[in-house]
C-alpha cells in the first residue's frame, strides 16, 4: 500500500517535472527541473530497492550530465531559439514522430508483459547471501547482458569521438 502511494506520487511528480522542463521559458530553470526529475526517478529506484541504481542515477545524471548541460547553457548564447534558424514545423513533425514511436514502444512493452507471467524471470537467485544488488547487477551485466553492455559502450565511444570532431576547431 505504502509503496503504491509512493509510486503514484512519484509518477505524478516525474511527469509534472517533465512537462515543466519542456514548458519553462528560462533554459536554466528548465535544466533544474530536469535535475529534480532525475532525483525523483532515483527515489523511485530506492522504492524498488535498487539502491545502486538510485545512487548511480544521481551520480551520473544529476551530478554529471546535467552539470554539463548547465555549463553549456551558461556558456552558449541561447537568446535566439533554434527555431529562428530552421523550419519550426519540421521540428514539430520530427518531435511528434519521435514521441509517437516511444509511445508505441511503451505500449508494446506493456502489452507484451501482460501476456506473460511476471515475476518468474528474476534470475537473481540471491547468490551466497549478498546484501544489496550491486553484485547481482555486476553478474548480470557481465554474463547475460554482455553484448548489449558492450554495444552500449561502443555507442558511447562513437558519440564521444563525434563530439570531439564537432568541437575541434579548424586550424
Amino acid at each position: 500500500m505504502a509503496e503504491a502511494i509512493a509510486f503514484y506520487t512519484l509518477a505524478v511528480l516525474i511527469l509534472g517535472l517533465g512537462v515543466a522542463v519542456v514548458t519553462t521559458p528560462k533554459t536554466v530553470h528548465s535544466v533544474l527541473f530536469l535535475v529534480l526529475n532525475f532525483l525523483c526517478v532515483a527515489i523511485l529506484y530506492v522504492v524498488l530497492r535498487a539502491e545502486f541504481l538510485a545512487v548511480i542515477q544521481v551520480l551520473v545524471y544529476a551530478g554529471g550530465i546535467v552539470v554539463l548541460y548547465l555549463f553549456v547553457v551558461m556558456l552558449v548564447n541561447l537568446k535566439r531559439a533554434p527555431e529562428a534558424h530552421e523550419d519550426p514545423r519540421r521540428l514539430a513533425r520530427l518531435g511528434l514522430g519521435l514521441s509517437g514511436a516511444v509511445l508505441l514502444e511503451l505500449a508494446g512493452i506493456v502489452v507484451y508483459s501482460y501476456g506473460r507471467a511476471a515475476p518468474s524471470s528474476a534470475p537473481a537467485a540471491p547468490v551466497e547471501g549478498i546484501v544489496g544488488n550491486t553484485e547481482e547487477l555486476g553478474w548480470l551485466l557481465y554474463t547475460d547482458y554482455l553484448i548489449p553492455f558492450e554495444v552500449a559502450s561502443v555507442l558511447l565511444l562513437v558519440a564521444m569521438v563525434g563530439a570531439i570532431v564537432l568541437a575541434r576547431r579548424e586550424s
Binding site: 556558456l75 552558449v76 548564447n77 541561447l78 535566439r80 533554434p82 534558424h85 563525434g162 564537432l166
Partner: protein, 375 residues
C-alpha cells in the same frame, strides 16, 4: 540536428567583456583593465588609468624647488627615497652642484634599501596574486625592518622627504650603520626562504614559465624599463650606463633574463635583492667622512635651461625633465618619466592570448604603483 546546429550561429559563444578594476583585489590600486574574453582567454585588453591623477607635475610648477621634494614622495609611494634622489640629482645637474662624497654614499645606501623594500612589496603582492599568500607576509616582515631603518634616519616610514638639493638634510644617526649591517644579515637568510617557497615550486613554475613572454626588440620598442626590460635580456641599468650617486665606485652585477617571461622577471628581482645587499655592504664599508651637504646657494634658482636626468628606480628608469626659466623660484616645467607608466603600456601586448588568471600574474610582474602611473 546537433551536428547541423554546431556550425550555425546558435552555438556562438559571446565575447564577455569584463571590467577588471578600478576596484579589484589584484590591480594594485585603482587600475582598470577592460578585458574582452573568449571563455577565459583574453582577446583584447584596454588599460584605463588616471583614477588617482593628482596633477603632481602641475603642482610642482607652482611650488618652490625645495618643496617639490615632498611632492615626489607621493608618486611612487613605496619607493619615496628613490623619487627624492632622482629629483635632487636632476636639479643638481641643472645647477651644477657638487654633492659631497659621503652624501652620495648615504644616498646609495638609502636608494638600495628602498629597492629592497619595493621589491619586498612586489614579491609579496605578486605571489599573493598567484595564490601563495604566505610569501606576502614573509616579504612584508622584512620590509618592516627597512621602514624602521628609514624611520630612524628621517622620522618617516613611507613618505620620507629624505634628501635635499645638494646633499642630505641629516647625517646618519650613530649606530644606524650597524643596524643596516644587521638587516643585511637578516636579508641574506630571508631571500633563500622566499626562494624555497617559490623558485622550484612546480605550481609557481607552471604559473610563471612562458607567461607574458616579450622579446628584447619588443621590450625596447615598447619602452619597457627596469626588470621587465632586463628580463628580456637587454643589458640596461641606469646605475651602470649613466652612473649617479656612488654607483660608479661600487661593484655590482646586473642580472639578465633569457626568455623574457614572468619567471625570469621574478628571478631578476630576487637577484637584485642580493645585489642591493652587496651594494649596501660596500657602501657601508667605504663610507667616507665629511659633510653631507654641498655648497648650495641659499636661494635655489637654476639658470635658464632644461635637462633630462634618469636614475634606476626599483621599477625602472625614473626620469625627470626639468625646465627652469631662470627667473622664478619654481621650475617652469617639471616632467616625470614614470617607469610604471611606461611599463604598464606593455600590459596589453603581454596579456592578449593569455587567460584571466594570467592577467593578474602579469600585472604583478610589471610591478606598478598607480601613484606613479597617474601622478
Amino acid at each position: 540536428m546537433t551536428g547541423q546546429a554546431a556550425a550555425a550561429p546558435i552555438f556562438d559563444t559571446d565575447e564577455l567583456v569584463i571590467n577588471m578594476g578600478p576596484q579589484h583585489p589584484s590591480t594594485h590600486g585603482v587600475l582598470r583593465v577592460v578585458l574582452r574574453l573568449d571563455g577565459e582567454r583574453v582577446v583584447d585588453a584596454d588599460v584605463v588609468i588616471g583614477y588617482i591623477h593628482r596633477g603632481i607635475e602641475k603642482l610642482c610648477e607652482n611650488r618652490d624647488w625645495t618643496q617639490i621634494i615632498l611632492l615626489t614622495d607621493r608618486m611612487d609611494y613605496v619607493a619615496a627615497a628613490t623619487n627624492n634622489l632622482g629629483y635632487c640629482e636632476t636639479v643638481e645637474k641643472l645647477m651644477e652642484i657638487e654633492v659631497p662624497r659621503r652624501a652620495r654614499y648615504i644616498r646609495t645606501i638609502l636608494a638600495e634599501l628602498q629597492r629592497i623594500a619595493s621589491h619586498c612589496l612586489w614579491l609579496g603582492t605578486h605571489a599573493m596574486d598567484i595564490g601563495a599568500m604566505t610569501v606576502f607576509l614573509y616579504a612584508f616582515r622584512e620590509r618592516e625592518l627597512i621602514l624602521d631603518l628609514f624611520e630612524e634616519y628621517c622620522g618617516a616610514r613611507l613618505t620620507y622627504n629624505s634628501m635635499r638639493i645638494g646633499g642630505l638634510p641629516l647625517d646618519i644617526p650613530t649606530g644606524w650603520d650597524v643596524k643596516v649591517r644587521e638587516f643585511c644579515k637578516v636579508m641574506d637568510e630571508k631571500v633563500p626562504e622566499y626562494e624555497e617557497l617559490l623558485t622550484n615550486n612546480r605550481i609557481w613554475l607552471e604559473r610563471t614559465r612562458d607567461i607574458g613572454v616579450i622579446s628584447a626588440e619588443d621590450a625596447i620598442g615598447l619602452g619597457l624599463c627596469g626588470p621587465p626590460l632586463r628580463g628580456s635580456g637587454v643589458y640596461r641599468d641606469v646605475r651602470k650606463d649613466e652612473p649617479y650617486a656612488a654607483y660608479d665606485e661600487l661593484e655590482f652585477d646586473v642580472p639578465l633574463g633569457t626568455r623574457g617571461d614572468t619567471y625570469d622577471r621574478y628571478l631578476i628581482r630576487l637577484e637584485e635583492f642580493r645585489q642591493s645587499i652587496r651594494l649596501i655592504r660596500q657602501a657601508l664599508d667605504g663610507l667616507p667622512e665629511g659633510p653631507v651637504m654641498g655648497k648650495v646657494p641659499r636661494l635655489i634658482k637654476p639658470k635658464a635651461g632644461e635637462t633630462y636626468h634618469a636614475i634606476e628606480s626599483p621599477k625602472g628608469e625614473l626620469g625627470y625633465f626639468i625646465v627652469s626659466d631662470g627667473r622664478a623660484t619654481n621650475p617652469y616645467r617639471m616632467r616625470v618619466r614614470p617607469p610604471s607608466f611606461c611599463n604598464l603600456q606593455g600590459l596589453r601586448p603581454l596579456v592578449v592570448g593569455h587567460l584571466v588568471a594570467d592577467v593578474v600574474a602579469l600585472i604583478g610582474t610589471i610591478d606598478i604603483v598607480l601613484g606613479e602611473v597617474d601622478r
